[in-house]
């Protein structure tokens, strides 16, 4: 288990990370999300003991990084943002050296190095000089290094940066594979990655935690509004009137011209069964519904909302407000609780527009 408590780092008077606290349980994959310069690497450097913190503690399996750095470092495999590889060395020699550095017993070194190379598919380049390898391979050599010494925890700092799409897929698969016997914290600014491999995310921006939750919960909490996208053929004023007068519709967010007589509407709705009603009413008026789809507020949207500087604080406040409201309403009827929450988010969405 990795416990991070009130972790803070100042560079001079400039705060890089402020008051970060979160916990990662065993066999969990935690996505560490944030825009560039949010303090992701700084945090990871502090967890791995490369960088001392100004205040706060990191406990790995109960060992404090400041008091028992050796015990902590033995349990952690770290892949920094830039793979720490020596360009003049050969892949195999480098990995054997790294294994020695991690105090892997001499008898086990060859086996572990071979295993790591196999896992990263670099066995065929083991005799090559690292400096001559492509970025993708170098990244994988760095990754293989992190696996040496059989660490329980893997800290991966942007493991997919600079890789081609096929390699990115491969690394994601590898992370999923490793998740079975490792606890993984990995940082990224690519959201698809998080959705693909993590159960839980911590979103940070400007050195502060903006959100910490499961992906589904985050989408629900901050995604807020429900929208329908409908492609409708018919006279625009008629269609607009019908939509606006339907119960459960709170307004038209956007109407886009598609071709003569065909428009795409993005409609804000509250209930789930608005769709049925809308379609029936439109068809009754001879307006053809060509396409209907749900618009999901994706993690992407959550991320942008939480991390864009002007809105970050507002959203964090809103999050707290929503939480408070939800708690207060838990005693009240459940049916009422949900629409209330959505309208709140709606109002916020409008302000934004």
């Amino acid at each position: 288990m990795v416990e991070i408590k009130n972790l803070t780092k100042f560079y001079g008077s400039q705060p890089a990370v402020q008051d970060l606290s979160f916990t990662v349980g065993d066999h969990e994959v935690l996505g560490f999300l944030g825009p560039n310069g949010a303090g992701k690497s700084t945090t990871m450097n502090m967890i791995t003991g490369c960088l001392p913190s100004t205040s706060g503690t990191v406990l790995v399996d109960g060992y404090d990084i400041a008091k028992d750095p050796m015990e902590v470092k033995r349990r952690i495999g770290y892949l920094p943002e830039l793979p720490p590889v020596y360009p003049e060395m050969r892949v195999r020699d480098y990995l054997t050296f790294a294994a020695g550095l991690k105090q892997v017993p001499r008898a086990e070194r060859d086996k572990q190095v071979a295993n790591a190379m196999e896992r990263l598919h670099i066995t065929d380049v083991q005799k090559r000089i690292i400096g001559n390898l492509s970025k993708g391979y170098r990244q994988r050599v760095g990754f293989a290094q992190a696996l040496l010494g059989k660490p329980k925890f893997l800290i991966l700092d942007e493991p997919t940066v600079g890789l081609d799409p096929a390699q990115v897929m491969e690394v994601r698969r590898l992370i999923q594979d490793l998740a079975q016997d490792h606890t993984i914290i990995f940082s990224t600014h690519i959201l698809a990655e998080v959705t693909a491999v993590c159960e839980r995310v911590v979103i940070i921006s400007k050195g502060k935690i903006r959100a910490e939750d499961s992906i589904a919960n985050l989408e629900q909490k901050f995604g807020g509004k429900k929208q329908l996208r409908m492609k409708i053929e018919g006279e625009i004023t008629t269609v607009t009137n019908i939509i606006n007068s339907t119960e459960g519709v709170t307004g038209i967010d956007e109407a886009e011209y598609e071709s003569a007589g065909v428009n795409v509407f993005t409609i804000n709705v509250t209930g789930d069964d608005v769709r049925k009603q809308l379609i029936t009413r439109l068809l009754a008026e001879n307006c053809m519904v060509l396409e209907v789809s749900d618009v999901h507020a994706s993690l992407e949207e959550v991320f942008v909302r939480l991390t864009s500087p002007s809105r970050a604080d507002a959203m964090a406040d809103l999050g707290k407000e929503l939480d408070a409201k939800r708690e207060a309403e838990q005693s009240a009827a459940n049916a009422e609780a949900e629409p209330e929450g959505s309208t709140e988010a709606d109002a916020d969405g409008k302000e934004d527009a």
């Binding site: 690497s41 490369c50 960088l51 050796m70 952690i76 020596y86 060395m89 050296f97 550095l101 991690k102």
Partner: protein, 243 residues
């Protein structure tokens, strides 16, 4: 720690680095050897290895920063230091492993220069005890310079700047004695006395003439140790301000 030491020594020979510097070292050594031999017939100067060591060091000392410039600066620049910062190894261990690595390369270069005394031994006679003493002095003074060069390398993340700082430090090491002997410093006996304590050249000249003294040995080793401790402090300090 042994892994790091091994890797340090290996990496010198993986690049042309060690070969070029050893070549240069041997070139300088052979030139001064030839020069000394050519002077051997004169009635004023007697051929001796102590002279060769002495002359050589004047040139060679400026090559040491080239050996040490990459030790820390390069690692900072290439971000490879995260490897040993996140590994279960302490910073003093890293500094000592690196120091021993450079010292080993340095020792290898000295062994190569044994060629010249061997030639002299075959064709003439050599006072072996004096020769050993000369080599010992050469090695010890080299250790001090290596430690200083490493400290300079820890100060920056640019190997070139590390080399330049190292050269400046070497000039200081080399000419501290001359500086102490200037009229200005001599007029302040107190200052002159302190500076003489730190003058390495005088101590080396004892060794190069075949005079072995425990005091000098302790002096060289303790200076080396002090500079290494400073290096540890600098590396540790810079760890706090890493990006």
């Amino acid at each position: 720690m042994f892994s790091l030491y091994k890797k340090e020594v290996q990496s010198y020979f993986l690049s042309p680095f060690a070969y070029v510097i050893s070549g240069l070292f041997l070139l300088v050594f052979s030139l001064s050897f030839v020069y000394e031999i050519s002077q051997a017939n004169s009635s004023v100067i007697r051929f001796s290895f102590s002279n060769i060591f002495y002359n050589n060091f004047f040139y060679f000392i400026f090559m040491i920063p080239l050996l040490t410039m990459r030790t820390f600066a390069e690692e900072r620049k290439a971000h490879t230091e995260t490897l040993w910062l996140s590994a279960p190894i302490t910073i003093p261990q890293v500094v000592f492993a690196k120091f021993l690595g450079v010292a080993t390369v340095y020792l290898m270069m000295m062994l190569l220069s044994l060629f010249f005394p061997l030639v002299a031994l075959i064709k003439g006679s050599v006072i072996v005890s004096s020769l050993i003493c000369g080599y010992l002095g050469f090695f010890l003074w080299g250790l001090v310079c290596i430690a200083i060069g490493m400290m300079m390398s820890a100060l920056t993340d640019n190997p070139i700047i590390a080399a330049v700082l190292g050269e400046a430090a070497m000039i200081l090491v080399l000419f501290l004695d001359n500086f102490t002997n200037t009229g200005l410093v001599k007029s302040i006996p107190f200052l002159a006395k302190i500076l003489t304590w730190f003058s390495t050249e005088a101590r080396f000249s004892g060794f190069s003439q075949g005079l072995f003294s425990i005091a000098d040995l302790v002096f060289f080793l303790s200076i080396t140790l002090v500079v290494l401790v400073w290096t540890i402090i600098i590396v540790e300090k810079r760890r706090w301000s890493r990006g």
